[in-house]
């Protein structure tokens, strides 16, 4: 045995002797009936171990979850704002007094300005909601690993890890981020498209730049029913698509599968070409008597399909991508 081995053997023997010194009585170790008669130290130890595990979980949590959460919240806000903008514009079209009031507040109000204001409101809603979403998410995650004076309450709170909370929060926004955004996008496109088309059909370019001039003719008011109906129909379908996504039943829903399929895109593309031809024809060679009562609704519904299908398809594709990124695709 070398001298190092002897030193090691001596040290190990000393360690063994030291370990067996001051051994508490067996009763003390077992506390006669319960290893932890006073369970507070045990609860605190469990709380500390759990808190450490949760902190580790938070450190290792993918940032994608926060991004997806923020973007979903942004989409809801943008969709909601688009719905509000569409509703306000529809109200202004239905009641010229509101439009005149708006023109009084904003001298020189025209369609271009309306489009710009709407776009600005929607984009800023998205950006602000994304910021708020990220801040909220970070605060929620901090709260998820926070401990206080009450070990039992902490254990209860720490039972859910930050990962689980984050996944639940992201999942909760899933349906809304699809449904509201879809409804908002479809309605804002249809309402503004309608306004631009009707103004284009009935007015010269000089007149189109004056809101009061446009309203004087009353074409927008008279036809508002033709656009309110498809907007309402799109809202209902968007609600259904969002609900299906929230319940994760896309695979079993024939309507949503059809909306997200390539065939629907092709049909929407063909319809889009027909509608573009028709729209140009109407705007350039407008003949008021050609657009009969029933035809207005058919045109409006076809336009809705042309707008709605590609947006749905794109959103469902984006959702699949998000689900894959956060590992939630089932």
């Amino acid at each position: 045995m070398s001298s190092i081995d002897k030193v090691i053997a001596r040290d190990l023997a000393a360690l063994g002797e030291n370990s067996r010194r001051d051994v508490p009585a067996l009763d003390e170790a077992l506390r006669t009936t319960d290893a932890y008669r006073d369970d507070r130290p045990g609860a605190e130890a469990r709380r500390n171990a759990l808190a450490e595990e949760r902190r580790r979980e938070l450190v290792l949590m993918p940032l994608t979850l926060a991004h997806v959460f923020a973007h979903r919240l942004g989409r809801i806000a943008a969709g909601g704002m688009a719905l509000v903008v569409s509703a306000v514009l529809l109200a202004m079209l239905a009641d010229p007094l509101l439009m005149r009031l708006a023109a009084w507040f904003m001298p020189g109000l025209n369609i271009g300005m309306l489009v710009m204001i709407a776009a600005l409101a929607i984009v800023s809603s998205y950006v602000i909601a994304s910021w708020i979403g990220e801040a909220w998410f970070a605060r929620r995650m901090r709260d998820a690993i926070k401990t206080g004076d009450d070990a039992y309450q902490d254990i209860e709170q720490l039972a859910q890890g930050p990962l689980e909370i984050a996944h639940r929060a992201v999942r909760r926004l899933d349906g809304w981020s699809i449904g509201v955004f879809l409804a908002g996008t479809a309605s804002v496109t249809l309402v503004f498209g309608y306004t631009i088309a009707v103004v284009g059909m009935n007015h010269t370019l000089e007149q189109a730049w004056s809101m009061t001039g446009v309203l004087a003719m009353g074409a927008l008011q008279r036809n508002v029913g033709a656009i309110a109906f498809p907007v309402f129909a799109c809202g209902l379908v968007a609600l259904y698509v969002g609900r299906t996504c929230a319940r994760d039943r896309i695979a079993t829903s024939a309507i949503v599968r059809a909306l997200g399929s390539w065939m629907a895109l092709v049909v929407a593309g063909v319809l889009g070409i027909v509608m573009l031809y028709k729209a140009f024809h109407l705007v350039v060679d407008f003949r008021p008597r050609r657009v009969v009562e029933g035809e207005r609704y058919v045109l409006a519904m076809m336009t809705s399909i042309v707008v709605f299908v590609p947006v749905t398809s794109g959103l469902l594709f984006w959702r699949r991508r998000e689900q894959a990124r956060i590992g939630a695709d089932r």
């Binding site: 070398s2 000393a14 360690l15 063994g16 030291n18 067996l26 450190v59």
Partner: protein, 175 residues
């Protein structure tokens, strides 16, 4: 039927001191060892109904301690990998050449892999035979011998490099 806590008390009585000593030796500190042993008792109390033969209690309890010790070692690995609340182990002490025997042995053992540490503590401190350790760990005797050999080699290395212990000629022996 005998209640679990009474049964545990009866079975634990003859081996309590040695089992606690083992838990302390295999841990980084006495306090860690006491925690480990306490946790092992809680788990033992919980799992005792699954123990069929009282005669196998010693090996069973040591296995509980060893499993918990490995769990803790794994947790310690994560803690080192992602230090969230600062380093807990004062490694600077390891460079001190004037450490006491006990502290030096603890620091050196803490550098070993858990299986090597357990084998050395059981064999060199607790005095278990290689066959007994093999039975306890559920591996072959040669595996235990290998762990002991590698563990000792590593201890020699640590003692030489970190504690500055040099090989000296002992009268009547050659190196």
């Amino acid at each position: 039927m005998e209640p679990s806590h009474q049964r545990l008390r009866r079975l634990l009585e003859p081996i309590h001191d040695r089992a606690l000593g083992f838990a302390r030796s295999v841990s980084k500190s006495r306090d860690d060892g006491d925690d480990l042993f306490q946790e092992a008792l809680v788990r033992a109390l919980d799992k005792l109904p699954t123990l069929r033969e009282d005669a196998t209690f010693r090996g069973w309890l040591y296995r509980v301690i060893i499993n918990l010790h490995r769990d803790r070692s794994r947790r310690a690995f994560w803690k080192r990998l992602i230090p969230l609340v600062g380093n807990e182990v004062g490694d600077n002490r390891a460079h001190d050449e004037t450490l006491g025997s006990v502290e030096r042995a603890r620091i050196a053992l803490a550098q070993l892999a858990p299986d090597q540490r357990e084998a050395i503590v059981l064999h060199d401190i607790e005095g278990w035979a290689v066959g007994e350790i093999a039975d306890l760990e559920g591996v072959s005797m040669s595996a235990i011998k290998s762990r002991l050999s590698r563990g000792r080699e590593r201890l020699r290395d640590i003692y030489t490099r970190r504690f500055g212990v040099r090989e000296t000629l002992v009268p009547g022996e050659t190196t």
